[in-house]
Symmetry: C2
Subunit: 314 residues, 2 copies
Amino acid sequence: MMGGDYAPLEAVKGIQLYNAQKDKDTHLVLVGDQELILKHLNEQGLDPASFTIVHASQVIDMHEHPTKALKEKQNSSIAIGFHLLASGKIDAFISAGNTGAMMVGALFSVKAIEGVQRPTIGAYLPRENGKLGWLLDVGINSDCKPENLLQFGILGSLFVQHVWNVEKPRVALLNIGEEEGKGNILTQAAYPLLKASEEINFIGNLEGRDIFVDKADVIVCEGFTGNVILKLSESIYDITVRRNIKDEYFDKFHFEQYGGVPVLGVNKPVIIGHGISFGPAFMNMIVMAEKMIATDLLGKIKESFGAKAVQTPE
Amino acid sequence: MMGGDYAPLEAVKGIQLYNAQKDKDTHLVLVGDQELILKHLNEQGLDPASFTIVHASQVIDMHEHPTKALKEKQNSSIAIGFHLLASGKIDAFISAGNTGAMMVGALFSVKAIEGVQRPTIGAYLPRENGKLGWLLDVGINSDCKPENLLQFGILGSLFVQHVWNVEKPRVALLNIGEEEGKGNILTQAAYPLLKASEEINFIGNLEGRDIFVDKADVIVCEGFTGNVILKLSESIYDITVRRNIKDEYFDKFHFEQYGGVPVLGVNKPVIIGHGISFGPAFMNMIVMAEKMIATDLLGKIKESFGAKAVQTPE
């Protein structure tokens, strides 16, 4: 409840939206400053009795060093959230708080699924036809091996298939040429791995010009290029706002509207929201967590990586 | 004259524009199919006697393999152009033809300046205030060492200083975090080199969101990310066209309007145009070549890299 620039008000508004719009069968556990949470719940006309409130006496600020803060602030809402998640007291953990601390918590408290070398986060790719694509990695893994890109492809594909209901998601490799053999050392080596994988529907290379075109459902790249693309795209939205361009499509470059992004490849559902998250984003994150649980996405991922380990022992 | 989708007509139109607008003290040598060139010069009302026409009986197509084509088609306009340039019969070579063949010709016929490890090409970065930035490398060097990024910074800085008349160009490193120490292995290692260099005015890291903001005159990155950025940016322009968005700023994302880009780091001025180049682009390329010669850009580059070699023997 304490994450994001407008905490906890916008988180409470998100809960309100969730309650109003859904057949809500999810019990929400609200972690944060109890007094503040109660105040906001009451102000927004929500009954505190319908939630479990877990008090957290500390908050990790947006600019604190993730590892240090998480270690030192054991009573922070993020630390407590991960404790609840790791111990099975909650089924998913959502926060718009310090992204680094959320990542560190996901990696060190919830931990990577066996067989997943590098958990990853992705970014939404809006397309003109209203569909969405998924780009990963966008910044946790700035130096990658070819196998990492393959795993991003598998993780992204399973996410898009189960959470977005896309049949046989098209997986592409971001590259600087269309033909096999093009690219830098990394993409040249990753291409045959992606091509040979039976876990994904690999459609080949895509270039920078194809990122916002509906050619692939999942595009994989290392986190350096992915992060540059994400931030560049956000800046395109900012430019349209500054220039007073009203366009339905470019409005979709306003990424925080989508909600958060899951940390794919860790053992439990962890969803990280944008620092500037408003009510609808919080609602979307709750819905995404529900979907991840309802479709047993993590079971599917574990199955895929477990099966793969059996196929290729040593 | 044979390069680009609309050759030689648009090249001839470019010459016409150049003749009309400038105190023309440049003698143009036109390389290509003589009959075709004469036909178009006459049709556009240009006097063939005011040019030197060098006949080339072959053309390298846009999709031919660069090295192979250049080797096998010794009578192609590109091969002849580089021969004229290398032998000192022309002072600059401009073409909107096969980009790969132009690169191969620049690297193997004109060759890298001593001390330059990797010649590079850049891309225009339009800014909302009307200024331009320069991003490099954008695709020749898809795997780089830290020293390459430093050299791109020096080459870009000299280009922007002399050809665009920018005093003390601000040079930034494209990265995925603002603070020193952030980034992937490459950018972490490149940062201290850029910081320590006395050849450039290094202002630190910039992120994806800063690329189209007037924070730096020169932004350096390896060619993989640079190429993705360039093509993504071109696609943003295409989207604005498809969506009928008329905006003065986004119109500047139509990169072929600028003309071509110089191959920086080779011994003579070589300018490569976009395959879809129209008259104004050809005119701009002639003007850029003039400016590179008039400011002795290549002398300045040689001086800089020569001086550096003396400073750090071995």
